[in-house]
């Protein structure tokens, strides 16, 4: 009996093992720090010594045009610093979490990374993946950055803000006129004025509010804009998270009753559960609804689709009596930070600072239409009245985007599903509040170490 076949099989096995061993020996990765063991003290490169930085960059989704701006920024920086090469790897929303998770677990990967602000950033801070940016950047530079409180912990700022996203209540002026609704004379309506407007619109056969909650973000937006108004500070929320207060208290649950009333009154579009957030937002562009929550970028899109003078924007209606009821809702959305294992933290921080030079800030706005999170940003660049209004909302007074201030699990397992319960009618507001509390309890008992971090985090 010939032994060709078994011999062949044996050869394949051996070849495979050799192959694997070979590629193991040669560090084939081209990203520095990718396959090296975690370093001891990172050395500052001597002047002129070639340095490569890897930057996992996420921004294009929030701010289309960001990638191009980053390419220019890198080119300019490299011209001024010929020994430094910056390798920008654009991230998608899908990659962002999973890729960095594995990087953090293996303590290897990029020098600069991106993450959602506050909760997510801090969770990586607590697993020792982040070098605080305040250790690397002088205070008089950082004082120009906006919203740094979103990433402050233990007296340090851990990540840098680049831009600001706020939410406004956009409206279709023509549809308002049709129903005899007058926009507010000031920034916003009172709650009663808001309800009266909804009623008038509905009577005129117009859908008062349009949106989509299939992916759950709309519910989260209502939490961040209505739920926030019952609180005096983010400390109030933290108390409920760590168990010193219950999410079923009216302080945390009453807003859901109001939302439920809106849904039951039929003020939302009938396919709100079939559409994702952006698809719901699009309905305003199609003239199928009078009002919708939207970011600056969405407002700009409405202006393009309906006509710049047909779109108005106001702050979310005032409902609550907590101190945060007067706060704005702008957030940096995504934060950039230097990783703990980076071999060149000083160079990385230097590049991050470069992104905040006034010339770069202006270029950012021109490329993306999103305002920069820096008080040196030239506000005169914003010319459309609705967007100017948004800018004012976003830079006046305290800003809190409440969704940032809960652990990711409470956001994903309570905030989002609770909103969906209310919008789909599959649960009452009371059920939704109980869901919040149950998930918080589950999180507390399953994550004692994270709970300890939150308990120590006085805001």
């Amino acid at each position: 009996m010939s032994r060709t076949l078994p011999r062949l099989a044996g050869l394949i096995t051996i070849a495979g093992l050799v192959f694997a061993a070979c590629s193991g020996n040669a560090p084939a990765s081209s990203s520095p720090g990718g396959s090296e063991a975690p370093a001891s003290a990172p050395a500052t490169a001597a002047a002129g010594e070639p340095v490569t930085l890897t930057y996992w960059y996420w921004a294009e989704s929030d701010a289309p045009g960001a990638d191009k701006w980053m390419a220019e920024t890198v080119a300019e920086y490299q011209k001024a610093h010929p020994n430094i090469t910056i390798n920008v790897v654009p991230q998608s929303t899908d990659t962002l979490i999973s890729a960095f998770q594995t990087a953090a677990a293996s303590k290897s990967g990029p020098d600069i990374a991106s993450q959602w602000a506050t909760g997510p950033v801090l969770s990586f801070v607590w697993s020792d993946a982040v070098t605080p940016i305040s250790d690397l950047v002088p205070a008089d530079e950082m004082k120009h950055w906006l919203n740094t409180n979103e990433n402050t912990y233990a007296g340090k700022v851990w990540a840098m803000s680049m831009y600001l996203i706020g939410i406004g209540l956009g409206y279709n002026k023509d549809l308002f006129a049709q129903a005899g609704v007058t926009p507010p004379s000031g920034d916003r309506w009172t709650w009663d004025e808001f309800l009266a407007a909804c009623q008038k619109l509905k009577a005129a056969g117009i859908t008062p509010l349009v949106g989509g909650d299939k992916n759950g973000y709309l519910g989260a937006w209502w939490f961040a804009n209505l739920g926030v108004q019952a609180l005096d500070s983010t400390e109030d929320l933290r108390k409920a998270v760590i168990g010193e207060a219950s999410f079923t208290d009216p302080k945390y649950a009453a807003w859901m009753v109001e939302l439920e009333k809106l849904v039951k009154a039929g003020y939302f579009n009938d396919d709100v559960m079939s559409l994702d957030l952006d698809q719901g937002v699009r309905k305003l562009s199609q003239g199928k609804g009078a009002m919708a929550f939207g970011t600056d970028g969405m407002i700009k899109q409405w202006m393009t689709d309906l006509g710049a003078d047909k779109v108005g924007v106001m702050r979310p209606p005032k409902w609550g009596t907590g101190q945060l009821a007067d706060a704005g809702n702008a957030t940096q959305s995504i934060s950039f930070f230097v990783t703990k294992w980076s071999q060149h933290p000083k160079e990385a921080a230097d590049f991050l600072q470069f992104m905040h030079t006034p010339e770069r800030l202006a270029a950012w706005y021109k490329a993306t239409g999103v305002v920069a999170a820096d008080d040196r940003f030239d506000q005169s660049l914003v010319t459309d009245p609705p967007l100017q209004a948004m800018l004012k909302f976003e830079t006046t007074g305290p800003q809190v985007w409440l969704e940032n201030w809960i652990p990711p699990q409470i956001d994903g397992d309570a905030d989002i599903p609770a909103g969906q319960m209310i919008f789909s009618g599959s649960g009452s507001a009371a059920d939704a509040a109980q869901l919040w509390e149950r998930v918080a309890q589950t999180w507390r008992s399953a994550h004692p170490d994270e709970l300890a971090n939150w308990q120590n985090w006085k805001q």
């Binding site: 011999r7 096995t13 979490i97 759950g216 789909s424 599959s426 170490d449």
Partner: protein
């Protein structure tokens, strides 16, 4: 020559013939590399503290957390529901394969079309069906158009309808695989069997029952097992691209639960515990199934 080699073959068989072991060696090595370390790692991780605090064992606490989580049970229930779709899927694939095998007019085109959904990536199919199944989507628009507006539901937005809706999409795509599989096997059925049966006066149903299906039995068995496993462990992309588990948790599945805990919540211990539970449950099922049926595949094959 023949006799002596027959003898020597018999002699060699009694001693350990290395040939089969060498043949399976590459496969075994690959499996060891890709599965062994992760599986061991997962089992260990399931006993460690949920977030990345390595080395801090907390015993069975993760398992307790999982078993007391209503979301876990909702996800498990949904997976079981999906399993019930496998018979439907199999029968549909058989039916289509049988029709195609007969080469009705346009069979080549039909066969390509049946397989087309399987060629597309799942997220594409998911996105398309989101538009089909939306409350004002195509399906409902059609229903309203023909006056059956009462039947128009929020297919993906209703907690009771969402999982069946997703199942329909899974079946839609997987049926192409089944059809190709069955056709591939049917290609080797000897035509003499059919000709003889027809001479004996057997009608199409009898031929189907007595020739086609028995001949296909191994492949049908394979398909059923694969699809059962799919419904348990390979539907993440469908759910993620269509509903993300919503509304609420109505369409959550175990894979989504694992993924969320491992990646979004950084609770690796919990994700690992769920994976271990899944593995244990299916292994138990396999053992039970084998004890009950005896494994006929191993007897009298050759």
């Amino acid at each position: 020559m023949i006799t002596s080699s027959a003898t020597s073959m018999t002699v060699r068989r009694r001693r350990l013939d290395p040939a089969p072991y060498l043949l399976v060696a590459p496969a075994v090595v690959m499996i060891l590399i890709v599965f062994a370390y992760p599986v061991v790692r997962i089992v260990i991780d399931s006993f460690l503290s949920p977030t990345a605090q390595r080395g801090v064992s907390i015993g069975f606490a993760n398992y307790v957390s999982v078993i007391s989580d209503p979301v876990f049970w909702q996800a498990a229930r949904n997976n079981v529901f999906l399993l019930l779709g496998v018979p439907v899927l199999t029968v549909l694939a058989l039916l289509l394969a049988v029709i195609l095998f007969d080469r009705i007019r346009g069979w080549r085109i039909y066969r390509t079309l049946v397989f087309t959904p399987y060629i597309l990536a799942v997220p594409v199919i998911g996105t398309t069906f989101v538009y089909l199944y939306g409350y004002n989507g195509i399906v409902n628009t059609l229903l309203r158009g023909i006056g059956a507006g009462g039947a128009a539901q929020d297919w993906l937005g209703s907690p009771t309808l969402v999982t069946p809706a997703i199942l329909s999409v899974i079946i839609y795509r997987e049926v192409g695989f089944g059809v190709m599989l069955f056709l591939a096997r049917m290609a080797s059925i000897r035509e003499e069997l059919y000709e003889a049966a027809m001479l004996d006066g057997a009608g199409w149903w009898a031929r189907l029952r007595h020739i086609t299906i028995p001949q296909l039995r191994t492949v049908i068995g394979f398909f059923v097992v694969i699809e059962l496993i799919t419904m348990l462990s390979w539907v993440f992309a469908y759910v993620y691209s269509m509903t993300g588990g919503g509304p609420g948790f109505a369409s959550s599945v175990l894979e989504l639960y694992i993924w969320k805990n491992a990646f979004a919540y950084r609770a690796i211990g919990i994700a690992s515990a769920v994976a271990v539970l899944l593995l244990v449950a299916t292994s138990a099922l396999i053992v039970v199934q084998l004890l009950v049926r005896g494994d006929e595949r191993d007897t009298g094959e050759e």
